[in-house]
Symmetry: C2
């Protein structure tokens, strides 16, 4: 029997153990620039650790994955957080897993609302960028600097990530 994970909506509470949700919804804000701009302020805990750390801004162009998908691997970055903000209005899939004595426990899978991003905390197990439906660009804020900032873990048996419990074919 294949191990299954059911996708649930991304919420701030559900994602809190893994990082932050980047959204204006329910976030602190205040007016600047004579009231012409509203600043939804300081949404992420940007973590920059290790040797000679610096913040990097990149654009990731992701090809879309089909659902259900097999999650064979997760990775983590011991020295820094990694933020993904979609530059389009399509949802994407976020997969994370708690750490259990140095290896990932059972993954959780979240689907985002359009226009919503995430910041994954340092050393949090997560799946790779998973665009859905169409190719999509994402602004990424992560950490540059010295040292090996990547650890990968391959599951003995992949997890099947799907929208509905037991739905092997409908996504």
């Amino acid at each position: 029997m294949r191990r299954q994970v059911t996708i649930t909506p991304l919420t701030k509470d559900a994602f809190a153990p893994f990082g932050q949700v980047l959204t204006t919804e329910g976030s602190d804000h205040f007016p600047i620039n004579g009231g012409m701009t509203e600043r939804y302020h300081d949404l992420a805990d940007v973590q920059l650790a290790g040797e000679n750390p610096r913040a990097m801004i990149s654009i990731f162009r992701g090809q879309p994955y089909a659902l259900p998908l097999e999650l064979k691997m997760v990775e983590r970055h011991p020295f820094g957080s990694q933020a993904f903000m979609p530059l389009h209005q399509r949802p994407f899939l976020v997969t994370v897993a708690p750490d259990e004595n140095g290896i990932p426990g059972t993954p959780q899978a979240f689907i985002t609302q359009p226009g919503v991003g995430i910041n994954i905390g340092k050393n949090v197990w997560h799946g790779v960028l998973t665009a859905l439906e169409a190719e999509g660009d994402f602004l990424v804020v992560d950490r540059g600097g010295g040292g090996i900032n990547l650890e990968e873990f391959f599951f003995d048996e992949p997890y099947l990530i799907s929208r509905k419990q037991g739905a092997l074919n409908s996504g």
Copy 2:
């Protein structure tokens, strides 16, 4: 006679004295995640200086300005860069000015291509976020920490920023 500035297209070369253009166009990239994602890598020089600096991620929701516009004030941030990435596909206006012995010289105004952002270097004089056409959200990466990270300069006489030289009404 009012001082006028004509808007020109934003290019990497023209903007180089002031910061970086955030775009996939002509930027270094390489495949990651088994070829499913292309990483347009390290597009910005994120500067974090001063007392207890940290990187912040915020969302700015900007009301649109009409063109031509009067530029009355520019500002700069002595301790950090500030990146603006549009979360929509409309162009926006970028106004910067060289420093001349501690005060801003003649401003330059650039219009972006859709999907293109900017990173303004620390201590570079610039106008406030200037959305055009419609309200727009921007992901902003700037610097938190101690000290006064804002300096404003009000021009004795505003500049008129317009699309065409001498066009006072057509924008």
